[in-house]
Structures are given as structure tokens and as C-alpha cells.
């Protein structure tokens, strides 16, 4: 799977290294849900900078991940959303309120530390 998952102190950093197909998104969700029950984190950052499309399916799966993480008291920050992806999210009317948004990893970590 083209995803890297690292634990950096109290935080989990998930980097999507290329666009994922639906099966890979589901695998990612299952993997992160399993991890959530095994490790304790104060927050998760998901870098979506390499996605070529963020459609309703991707948003739903990432939302599922955010729900599970939030349930354990750990907010989820999306970073790296490209301008053309932001535009399509707005045009499609996707709700991304489950996530906090930051420009990049550094800002994402700062956001989580301030939470």
C-alpha cells in the first residue's frame, strides 16, 4: 500500500504517497482503526498532498478514520490539500468539518499541540 505511517512522539503521521484506489483506501481505514486500538496518540495528521482527486468516497473513508480517532480523543488534521483539490471539494459540496486543516506537517503539528 502506498502509504507511510509514522509515530512522532504523541502523534501519528500518515502520508498518502500517491493516489489510492478504493480498495487501498479501505485497507488504510482498517489499518488505522486497528492501530487506534493498539497505540495511544494525541492526534493524527494525514498528508493528502499527493492525491489527484478527493471525491466523496475518499472523504467518507478519511471521515471514518477521523471519527475513530476523535472517539479516542485524538483530532485529525488534513495537510497538503492542493488548491485544485480544495476547489473541487467546494464545488462538490463535500463536508470536511470532521477535520482540522493545516497547510503542511509543521503547521499541523503546531495545531495539534495547541489543541
Amino acid at each position: 500500500m502506498r502509504v507511510s505511517i509514522l509515530q512522532k512522539g504523541d502523534y501519528l503521521i500518515v502520508s498518502l504517497q500517491s493516489s489510492l484506489n478504493d480498495g487501498e483506501f479501505r485497507q488504510l481505514r482498517n489499518r488505522l482503526i486497528a492501530l487506534a486500538s493498539q497505540i495511544s496518540t494525541k492526534g493524527m495528521i494525514i498528508d493528502v498532498g499527493k492525491l489527484d482527486v478527493m471525491d466523496s468516497f475518499a472523504t467518507r473513508i478519511l471521515g471514518d478514520i477521523a471519527d475513530v480517532s476523535q472517539h479516542r480523543g485524538a483530532p485529525t488534521v488534513l495537510v497538503g490539500i492542493q488548491p485544485h483539490i480544495k476547489f473541487s471539494i467546494a464545488q462538490l459540496g463535500l463536508d470536511i468539518e470532521k477535520f482540522e486543516i493545516a497547510l503542511n506537517l509543521e503547521e499541523g503539528l503546531a495545531l495539534l499541540k495547541n489543541d
Binding site: D55, S56, T59, S88, L92
Partner: protein, 141 residues
Amino acid sequence: MKSNKEKKGKIFSLGSDHDLVTIRKYGKGLAARMGFDKNNRTLISTAISEICRNVIEYAGQGRVKIEISDDEKNCIMITISDSGPGIEDVSKALQEGYTTGKGLGVGLPGAKRIMDEFEVQTCVGEGTTIRMCKRLGLDSD
């Protein structure tokens, strides 16, 4: 090397996640060759993704044609058809948030909003064909 015919359009079978990604990438590539800007290429690709996923979820498989319109050279046309259950109530299906599946209910209305033209032909028990197109130059291209 792409043939002239392929540069103008292509027909795909749709039956898997992998097909969906292939089709979406082709659509984005054709839109790029036509001169659509990045925002619109992503919109086109997203609309294709949404409708194709509906085909896989509800019909299992279908057929997708992506081409430059013969009549309007600045228009990318996408026709997605299946022999699935059909849509019982199209106006309901086009409402935001309405879904009979597991999705968010934004695919059909969202794709309609994104594209310049959007037509649904459906018959319960027989299948659905969606034709949509986007034109260069109507906004920021």
C-alpha cells in the same frame, strides 16, 4: 504512442476500482490535452469518479466513453452506462444527501453541478446512461 483516434476519445469497460482509476486518469489526460486548466481537469476527473463509483456500487459493471465532441471541439463528453437496476426517482437521486447506498449522497448532484451539461436516462430494471460534458472557456480556462 497514442493513435489519432485515441487522442480524440476512448471506450472503457468499468468493473473494478482499478478500472475507475484508469478511466479517471484518461479523462484528466484528455482534458489536459484539450487545454482545460488544473481546477477544471480535477473537476472533470472527480465527476467521472463519482459516477463510475455509482456504477460499480449499484450495477457492478458498465461502460464509459470519454471523447472530444464531434460538434464542439472545446467540449469533453463523457457517457457512462450500465445495465443495472436503474434509478427509481431521478429527481430524488439528484438531491444533496440522498442515497440508497453507503455513500454521502453527493455524487450525482455534485457531478451535475460540476459539469456544464448533465443528462440522465434510466429505466428501472434495465439500466442507466449518464451523459455529461464540460466546455473550455466558460469560466477561467
